[in-house]
Subunit: 658 residues, 2 copies
């Protein structure tokens, strides 16, 4: 009677595992595509609006300035003006310096701080991002294009190719955004970026030894070994004047940064330090005639605004190096995007507004396309400049317009003042900016939290420092992808037991006190069942069963009678996976063990149903929870045991009779 009650109890409590309601294929396809390309539902606000309103909102969607300009106030302008001037004081020396890093004439760095910020102010949705040239893509351009065309011997062709690369970067970036493929940038993981940026910063710092030591000749390669060789081979050419000047300015820049870090409200001290260095350095050279004593200077800078560069672009399209330019454009474009999007997003989180990654890509892409037609090279959201902009209290993208205006004034009137600026100061500015990018603390954090991420990070770093920027990037991305494949190819399986007295079952690895259920093996599968892991899972599950049987044999306990597979974490299955389950069922049927499934999800149930696996296993052997499955198994075990006992007694009685 007791057992009947129990059966009744189990049946009463039982909720059947459901196959989700059927959905037509078209709506399934639509929802899949929407989840893939529009996970953030960007056109949400257009719903249920009149056509006119829709068009207006659509315009505002693509040109955000239309949305916020009407609400712009004088208060905002005051804040934006101050921050705009502050970032301009950073943009001018950095622009000149990074152009040098890209092996371009310094004035192109200034051009690049004029047109792109104006475009971004119209199209961008970040309120804090300060746009300009950045170090790592500059270095990448020099290293990728420099391999094919010597920037000194063939300067005209080199500049043409740089514009072409910028153009293709822009086209690539904008199309990623328009096609909603922004998630490609996500494949550059945090660990990859930490390692890659640190590596690139190391390489850039090493290259600055050229400027600091006043060397005239230098290797075109960017890796540690070649750079150090080049430096030490020319030991007799080192200029102490240049070296002393460089070290002084480095010291100055570090001290101001340290001070500003200690007292954040004096952020402007470190923000103005580069411009101060340039002014001091230029004055020093002018007064001491140091240019004749081994201190190299910038020299003549062309006055005037950006000349159009359509002719150069056109010339490059006919060049034999066009494919190199396209490759460079795509790789630098994606790196620039990763930096720009990360910068925009970090500051948006601070101020709690939303940034649409795909829209940002379109904005960054458009500004690079426009830039490539007006003698600018690759620009994106720059981290250091954006941080200064944020600290200076900017309110909107108008600070970019203010910066562009300041750069315009510089271009129109102030370029002659840079004649005496020593190269060594620019090197010191770059070095000071780069050293803060070498993020060893993040690497230590990666090691302590996730060893695999540390491996990714270090391989990016080593690849960049010892071979080339592209190699490092490709290795790190490949290892990251391998991790995803390995997650799927080797899903974790673990034995489960009941946690304390409750009917909750958990892995005994995590809960070592969990109680195993005698005669029942409960296995948790932690990942989708796909072709890549079907064989593995079959082998592994059979091995668990063998091991359990061996253990039971040794302890002379009951036989293993049920295997419950907890499918809670099995997100999906494909036809190879279903064949595997069928094969597994055949295998363990032969051992007279019953296969039981617990909590298969909707996608799983749909496929198991369509492939008739549910009929094969029996719908009554699929349970909503592991607890229910265990109850059912226990019930069967006890009724069977009782029945066997009754049979034994009966036969004994019969024997006695005889």
């Amino acid at each position: 009677m007791g057992s009947e009650n129990r059966e009744y109890e189990i049946q009463r409590r039982r909720v059947e595992v459901q196959v989700p309601p059927p959905k037509p294929f078209s709506s399934f396809l639509k929802s899949t595509l929407q989840e893939t390309f529009f996970p953030d539902d960007p056109f949400k606000q257009l719903k249920n609006q009149s056509v006119r309103k829709k068009i207006m909102l659509g315009f505002q969607f693509f040109v955000p300035i239309l949305e916020w300009a009407p609400r712009y106030t004088f208060e905002f302008f005051k804040a934006d003006f101050i921050s705009g001037i502050t970032i301009a004081s950073l943009a001018v020396p950095q622009g000149i310096s990074y152009a040098g890093l890209a092996k371009l004439p310094p004035v192109i760095g200034l051009y690049s701080s004029f047109v792109p910020p104006l475009i971004y102010a119209m199209l961008g949705s970040s309120r804090d991002m300060a746009v300009g040239t950045v170090a790592v893509p500059s270095l990448l351009i020099a290293s990728m294009l420099g391999k094919k065309v010597n920037p000194h011997q063939n300067a005209k062709l080199y500049v043409e190719l740089v514009f072409a690369a910028t153009f293709f970067s822009g086209v690539f970036q904008a199309s990623l955004g328009l096609l909603r493929l922004g998630f490609i940038v996500d494949f550059l993981s945090h660990a990859t970026i930490v390692g890659f940026m640190s590596g690139a910063a190391t390489v850039v710092c090493l290259q600055q030894l050229k400027g600091i030591l006043g060397l005239l000749q230098f290797t075109g390669e960017a890796d540690l070994v070649n750079v150090m060789k080049s430096v030490f081979r020319q030991i007799h050419l080192w200029r102490w004047e240049s070296g002393v000047l460089g070290c002084c300015f480095l010291l100055f820049l570090f001290t101001t940064r340290y001070f500003s870090k200690k007292k954040p409200k004096f952020f402007w001290i470190s923000a103005l330090a580069p411009l101060t260095s340039v002014i001091l350095g230029s004055l020093l050279v002018y007064l001491t005639n140091a240019e004749n004593h081994g201190v190299e200077i910038i020299g003549h800078l062309k006055k005037g605004l950006n000349p159009p560069s359509l002719l150069e672009l056109e010339a490059s399209f006919g060049s034999t190096y066009l494919s190199t330019a396209i490759k460079t454009g795509i790789i630098t474009g994606i790196i620039a995007l990763a930096e720009g999007i990360a910068v925009g997003r970090s500051f948006a989180v601070f101020k709690s507004y939303h940034i649409d990654g795909n829209k940002e890509m379109v904005a960054i892409g458009m500004m690079n396309i426009a830039g490539s037609c007006t003698s600018c090279y690759l620009t994106t959201g720059a981290f250091s400049r954006t941080a200064v902009n944020f600290n200076a209290g900017c309110k909107t993208a108008v600070s970019n317009i203010v910066m562009a205006t300041a750069v315009m004034i510089t271009l129109l009137f102030l370029t002659p003042l840079f004649y005496y600026t020593p190269i060594v100061v620019l090197s010191a500015i770059i070095m000071a900016a780069m050293i803060s990018l070498i993020d060893y603390e993040a690497a230590i954090h990666l090691w302590s939290v996730d060893k695999f991420d540390f491996v990714v990070c270090m391989s990016a770093y080593i690849g960049v420092v010892f071979h080339s920027v592209e190699t490092g990037l490709i290795i790190a991305v490949a290892i990251s992808l391998l991790r995803i494949l390995m997650f799927v190819a080797r899903p974790k399986t673990s034995v489960m037991g009941s946690v304390s007295s409750s009917a909750t079952y958990r892995s005994i690895e995590q809960y070592p006190d969990a109680n195993l259920v005698p005669g029942v093996l409960i296995l948790h599968i932690n990942g989708p069942i796909y072709f890549a892991n079907a064989s593995y899972l079959r082998e592994r599950i059979l091995r668990w069963i063998d091991e359990e049987e061996d253990k039971l044999k040794c302890s002379a306990k009951n036989d293993l009678q049920y295997v419950i597979l907890d499918m809670s974490a099995v997100g999906n299955i494909d036809t190879s996976g279903i064949s595997m389950l069928e094969e597994l069922k055949k295998n363990i049927d032969r051992k007279c063990i019953k296969l039981v499934l617990a909590n298969p999800g909707g996608e799983l149930m749909k496929k198991l149903d369509k492939s008739k696996f549910i009929d094969k296993i029996g719908h009554e052997w699929i349970y909503l929870t592991v607890g229910e499955a265990v109850d059912a198994c226990n019930f069967m075990l006890h009724t069977c045991a009782a029945k066997t006992k009754a049979d034994e007694l009966e036969s004994e009685a019969a024997d006695n009779k005889v």
Copy 2:
């Protein structure tokens, strides 16, 4: 008092979510490597044995014949003898035919059915597999090598390269097995193989039109368009004699197959049909002198056993086409492995014994290395022959030895008998074998069960039929990998509700009757949180929250106060994922919503703990089950509501007093 009781109840019941006990890094690394490379624990039986026993078992492990030979009986031999003779009758005509497919002299096909089966019998662990040449790799060899070297104009070099490709196939296969990298074969999913095999079979059938129509010239390409062009351009050269003969034999072969399928115990009728066709065809030609009337014949076949081919191998190593041979070897090697392993495993499941995939790879690899030194080309486990072997009742790999002996006798004495064998009969044999490989039923099954697998299958088919065998394979593998990446890049999130009255929470997509909990949003995340999906998940979770808030606003219900993330199916997390959770927490904290986690697994807890995220969220906000999390949220909601109400009453009372 009631609420206090309830709190007590919740606390009493509560089991803390545990961080799994720490494990030293070395043991973690060891277990990871073991799971990756030795999931089936192949050396299990060597444990706890004496050194001598270990060595003996080790030998038996690598040379399975040592293990079963001592137990071999005469009963076994009788069975093996019958099945060996049966498969030999299939092997001889198929060997000659497939050599033609690979554009090799027919005798090499016979050689390949002599040495490799002997090697396999010693090293292989399958009891049913019949070894020999197979169609698809033969076709692949011809299409990949034939592109570089014309097999008719430059026959000697071509044969050398085929031996080299076979050698590299063997080396590649054996090293995959030795390095325990057999899982690479798993990346050829069931769907890929169905599409690829069907496509290859189609292509092979089309190519047989050459033999059937008695054409002398034919295109070297293997795609549909080129083959059909070649056939119809030569319409004036079609030979009706050949065509009629071909159709008759095709009809004969199909009829016998149909009959054997209907009555499985007459399997030998279809097994003997190819040899019968060859004999009938040869007799017919001999008697009618059809060789002078447009029916091409094999002609002279060299008598004698396999000559050594070390000199040819050596010559090929110096050839400029060595890299092509290596590429061909690797691609055909992996295809041959996939077929061989699948065949071995399927029949092992029937007879319920275990096959170690990696060990089989070593066996197949060794037999190809040995084969390449004795004038054989690529061999593997052939499906049709193995099925015949199984039906004929083979007991052990001795049936392979019997087959090899029969082939040896053929080579020594019977080759002259094949002089008059018409090519058209060989074409008919190939066509009949291939048409059964075009598995349209499997494709329909894929469509009904898993649309994505169907896409993979069709792209493999179309790629093979309209471009080339390699293209089809590469496209299918790329799409399959994309699916894995998309699973990780776009994990499914769904809202959960309680199922019936129990405290079990499940996705409302699967259980549309599930009850939502007011004021609490429960989200299920179905996949690991990795760099590739961190941005997506942040956007998607925030969108769920926004939508829920909008819904609540419309219905003027309580505000959303808690978001419970069910982490049961989140198998792993990396540092990008942890940053995402931190960012998400900041975002929803700002909305005054509390983030609660339910059931994070061991790996997750370890990393959340190390990255201090647990401290940030508070250990008390991590629950063992969704049910407990909901109870806690509900409890807080009610106490707060009660408190607010009490406050209101109090202030009202105070107002009243005033």
